[in-house]
């Protein structure tokens, strides 16, 4: 599903070069529910950004469903993200002027689907994430947990091959965080999309079926749970 080969990512911060990733190799199979964990500055978000085609490697390569991401130009990467990758962000990043329905439908409208299809799929995913009946609510009218459910629905509604979540529970209380993780786990099973989320929260790590530990831009542990 996703292959990361000797991925190196360097940043320049003023005159200083920051080595965010120092040659990461990882193979992620279809349908995995995995967490990339590590302390702050370990390179979790950088790795997620590279896998999500939001950024490009300094060296090395990344393949998503056997497609070389490094060879793609900006527009091709945009199209890849549009079709195959869903994102869930720490701070939800919903569009405040759109309702829950419209925020989710946004993802589908980018695919150019007919309105009937958009409506059908959006209402279905709203039910799946437990927000049936709240489709007309604006983000300001919803709790943090509900907003993150909308964000998850927005990521999943297009049936992406890959869902990337950057610290999805960081802005939620622990109970709501658990509910969100449980929801993601259920949807992972149901939709068979690959879920990769970054975290430094032990509770989140416990939920993951596979845990990759990063430290100073290098994978220090990679373990699967039964």
């Amino acid at each position: 599903m996703v292959t990361v080969k000797k991925a190196v990512k360097d940043y320049t911060a003023g005159k200083v070069i920051v080595h965010a990733l120092r040659g990461v190799d990882i193979l992620i199979n279809k349908g995995e529910f995995m967490s990339i964990a590590g302390p702050s500055g370990s390179g979790k978000t950088t790795l997620l950004n590279l896998i999500g085609c939001l950024d490009v490697c300094t060296s090395g390569d990344i393949l998503i469903e056997n497609e070389h991401v490094g060879n793609k130009n900006k527009i091709e990467r945009t199209m890849l993200r549009r079709k195959k990758i869903g994102f869930v962000f720490q701070s939800f990043n919903l569009i405040p002027v759109l309702t829950a329905f419209e925020n989710i439908a946004f993802s589908l409208s980018l695919l150019g689907l007919p309105n009937d299809e958009i409506r059908k799929r959006t209402m279905k995913i709203l039910d799946e994430v437990g927000l049936g009946g709240l489709e007309k609510r604006f983000p300001r009218e919803m709790s943090g947990g509900q907003q993150q459910r909308v964000a998850i629905a927005r990521a999943l509604v297009k049936n992406p091959a890959l869902v990337l979540a950057d610290e999805p529970t960081a802005n939620l209380d622990s109970t709501t965080g658990k509910e969100i993780l449980k929801l993601m786990e259920d949807l992972n099973k149901k939709h068979e999309s690959t879920f990769i989320f970054s975290t430094h929260d032990a509770m989140v790590m416990d939920f993951a079926h596979r845990l990759v530990l990063l430290h100073d831009g290098v994978i220090v542990d990679d373990k699967k749970k039964n």
């Binding site: 939001l54 990043n93 002027v97 980018l110």
Partner: protein
């Protein structure tokens, strides 16, 4: 596309107060643009009307050399076959009158001898009324005497009211007019002031004098001759066909080879060019005012774009192309321009309705300022200029839209990852 349009409209009302304030700035700029352009156009049209009514007539037949040297109004270049030309033109259905128009200097015969340059027009009192409207503009003099129109054959003179004030001359006072004869010698004509003219054309009020044609032609040695045959035709008649028709009528008159027929547009071309340039220049200033409003849009969009950096980062992450986001912001700014433009057009039209029907009385200001170039004094009325109203509205939206491009490009130049990290 529907989503982009819908998002733009929703974002337009996201910060209602900001949108409203920016739209007000645009509305004020557009309303001012429409109202002032209307006033300037009104002044220009009124000036042309006054020009035709009091100064030039609709067209003139002149000797070609007189026309070439029309700045000097030389009487030696005149029409020898005046009466034949006049008959030909009258037979062609036009109201026409002969005039002798020359440069002169006028002074009060009993005064201190100060001479004032002016234009002397020798007019046939009866015929001149068919073309010009001077008779209705004779006013009561400051000492309460009602002036009279000229009588043929008498040594009388009509003075512009302001020129009379400069000369300190009133009704029944004697004035002296110095000019050149057709043979180039200086001559002096003396006459009694019979009336003071106060027209809506400041040039007549301060720079022209009128005497009976018979007296002027005798004094200038031009018996049976004239420098111009002035013709009048309806205000909205098309000039070119009328000029052609007059020229054809004149061409049949023996000895008319050296005559030319010129419309008021050509006779007053210098004034009209200046007037239009003035309008263009004022429009430029108004355009600058409007541009400031457009910069307001740019500022509003700049704030909006920076506030939504993370949001646009998210949209790009989800696969929305930068071009689509740019389009969405341009539509949003165009929407501000639409609201402002609509408000500006409504305000501008309301101001214009008042100005077209009632106008503003600038007479006291104009008398303080003197001649500011327009052939108009007193009440300034506007005219409707629907192309300006339409253009102001359309360009208001276009400029507003364009003003969003720069801030949007700044935001979209940031990488997606940095945009998503924006606080």
């Amino acid at each position: 596309m529907w989503f982009i349009l819908s998002l733009s409209l929703k974002n337009l009302f996201r910060y209602k107060r900001r949108t409203f304030l920016t739209a007000i700035a645009i509305a004020a700029g557009i309303a001012a643009f429409i109202a002032i352009d209307g006033v300037l156009l009104g002044a220009e049209l009124e000036s042309v009307r006054n020009l035709v009514k009091y100064e030039t007539g609709s067209a003139r037949i002149m000797d070609s050399t007189y026309w070439k040297n029309h700045d000097f109004l030389l009487p030696k270049y005149h029409l020898n076959n005046r009466d034949q030309i006049l008959k030909a033109v009258t037979d062609a259905g036009y109201a026409a009158t002969p005039r002798i128009t020359v440069l002169a200097e006028v002074s009060n015969a009993a005064g201190n001898g100060d001479q004032y340059p002016c234009i002397l027009a020798g007019i046939d009192p009866g015929m001149d009324e068919r073309v010009f409207s001077l008779k209705e503009t004779i006013v009561v003099s400051p000492d309460g005497v009602q002036g009279q129109y000229l009588s043929p054959e008498k040594r009388e003179i009509l003075l512009g009211k302001e020129l009379a004030e400069k000369l300190d001359a009133g009704i029944n006072d004697a004035v002296m007019v110095k000019t050149k004869t057709a043979s180039g010698q200086y001559t002096t004509l003396d006459a009694v002031v019979t009336g003071l003219l106060y027209t809506t054309d400041p040039i007549i009020n301060s720079g022209m004098i009128f005497m009976p044609l018979s007296y002027v032609e005798d004094a200038l040695l031009m018996q049976g001759r004239a420098t111009d045959i002035v013709i009048n035709f309806p205000e909205f008649a098309e000039l070119d066909p009328e000029i052609t028709k007059i020229a054809q009528a004149v061409s049949g008159v023996p000895g008319s080879e050296n005559t030319v027929v010129k419309s008021y547009l050509e006779i007053a071309s210098e004034y009209l060019t200046i007037s239009q340039t003035k309008r263009g220049g004022t429009s430029l200033i108004l355009f600058m005012v409007f541009l400031i409003a457009a910069i307001g849009v740019s500022n509003t969009m700049l704030i909006a774009v920076f506030e939504r950096t993370r949001e646009t980062g998210m949209m790009r992450a989800l696969g929305m192309r930068s071009g689509s986001i740019l389009l969405s912001l341009v539509i949003e700014a165009t929407g501000i321009g639409f609201i402002g433009g609509l408000g500006g057009v409504i305000l501008g039209i309301l101001a214009n309705i008042y100005m077209v029907n009632w106008g503003l009385d600038f007479s006291s200001l104009m008398s303080e300022m003197g001649n500011i170039g327009y052939r108009s004094i007193g009440i300034f009325k506007s005219a409707w200029n629907f192309s300006t109203i339409g253009n102001a509205f359309v360009y208001g939206m276009i400029y507003s839209g364009i003003m969003a491009i720069f801030p949007a490009c700044i935001a979209l130049r940031r990488s997606i990852t940095k945009s998503l990290q924006d606080k």
